[in-house]
Symmetry: C2
Subunit: 237 residues, 2 copies
């Protein structure tokens, strides 16, 4: 089986109670989600949902890391977004009224809560705050996507690789040492974020390793010189 139902997490005591877009709602609304939701766990590499399938609700990440990726016309994966604990998931397709335009795949073991479509859409109809928050969420996603478009169109691969590292670090943060990126991505994954060949990504990472900007040890990536990495990414925002 692709996933396993687990004992439901309790939204009231969730670490993300007051930051998550769903649970940040009024107590009553949160409780409605809480009682109807179904939690499942997924192992690394498993699909939470697949591109092309119609959505039956929305998800909320209880713990773990997930990538959202699209298949290109030639079968190459493109990683569109990274999802972390507390993030909502799968709302685009539902609100658009069509099927998933990307797949959600566990980067590491994770737990996910599922809120049925009927409940969610019902609450959305009467909870203005939630509606506005969903609009803000989508607008922010759109802004990021448009920035990504500009960078893909205009920046050389080296800068984009550096940027991808910063992006992963922004999303998942550092380990306790304050240097190691707290997520294990394969070189292929990084290439699929950047939009380049795997070999090219490997090469550029090796160079940055040689240039003392980062330090590679297996899948662990240490950022040893953040200012230099930012400079390599060549970003001014």
């Amino acid at each position: 089986m692709a996933f396993e139902h687990v004992k439901n997490a309790d939204c009231a005591h969730c670490a993300k109670r007051f930051t998550n877009v769903f649970c940040n709602a009024e107590y009553d609304v949160m409780q409605e989600f809480n009682t109807e939701k179904v939690c499942s766990s997924y192992k690394k590499g498993e699909y939470i949902f697949k591109e092309g399938i119609r959505p039956h609700g929305v998800y909320c990440v209880n713990y773990g890391k997930i990538k959202l990726s699209k298949m290109g016309d030639d079968g190459k994966e493109q990683i569109i977004r990274l999802v972390k604990t507390g993030d909502p998931l799968g709302y685009r397709a539902l609100l658009s009224g069509d099927s998933y335009s990307s797949s959600a795949i566990a980067i590491e073991d994770c737990g996910v809560c599922f809120i049925p479509k009927e409940l969610f859409m019902g609450i959305l109809q009467r909870d203005t705050t939630l509606s506005l928050e969903m609009m803000k969420l989508l607008s922010d996603d759109l802004k990021k996507a448009e920035l990504q478009i500009t960078h893909l169109a205009q920046k050389p691969v080296r800068e984009r690789v550096a940027e991808a590292l910063l992006f992963i670090k922004e999303t998942y943060g550092f380990e306790e040492d304050g240097k190691t990126i707290a997520a294990a991505f394969s070189r292929e994954d990084i290439a699929n974020i950047v939009g380049t060949a795997t070999e090219t990504a490997i090469r550029l990472l090796s160079e940055m390793n040689k240039d003392q900007i980062i330090q590679l040890s297996g899948k662990k990536i240490l950022i040893t010189d953040l200012p230099k990495l930012i400079k390599t990414a060549n970003i001014y925002d």
Copy 2:
């Protein structure tokens, strides 16, 4: 002066009365927009709004063609979206609560209706249908942006140039002859949609001209062999 106030268009008799996301609303809501809105006209090349400025409302295009573009870090323009008669405009920044992340520039003379922020947000608070439609609009935009990301990351320039032509044609349609794209884009504009150097865009368009796929005469572009153009774009959706 950058723009000129003109006699307000009447929403009740607008050609887009029942398709536009704002005016498609109930009669009362539409009338509220209608009485408070302010219409202006812009000449080709003028800005409707500029990247970095805070929004004071949303726009609705009464007539004309507009491009939404972002400045890359090195000052190169990236065209993000194309806007046509009846389309809403400028809602992303407002709903996100931040400043415009792209500029809206008239591709040809156009007329635009402005709906003040307070009115729009007020109606949004009480009109669930409008809220849901805005979410759908944003979700659709996001889907398109993510497809664009995938194509920029994975497809060669030639395919993207062909795709850009199809995109322009999809947006603005054909002239009466059923072949000529009903919009005049400079080669530089096309390059800035595709994400390539102007010379490269020129070269590839010339090639397609030679290959009898399109026919160039000045800024007019005729699609002489649509199936071949689709094949050149290499799209399977």
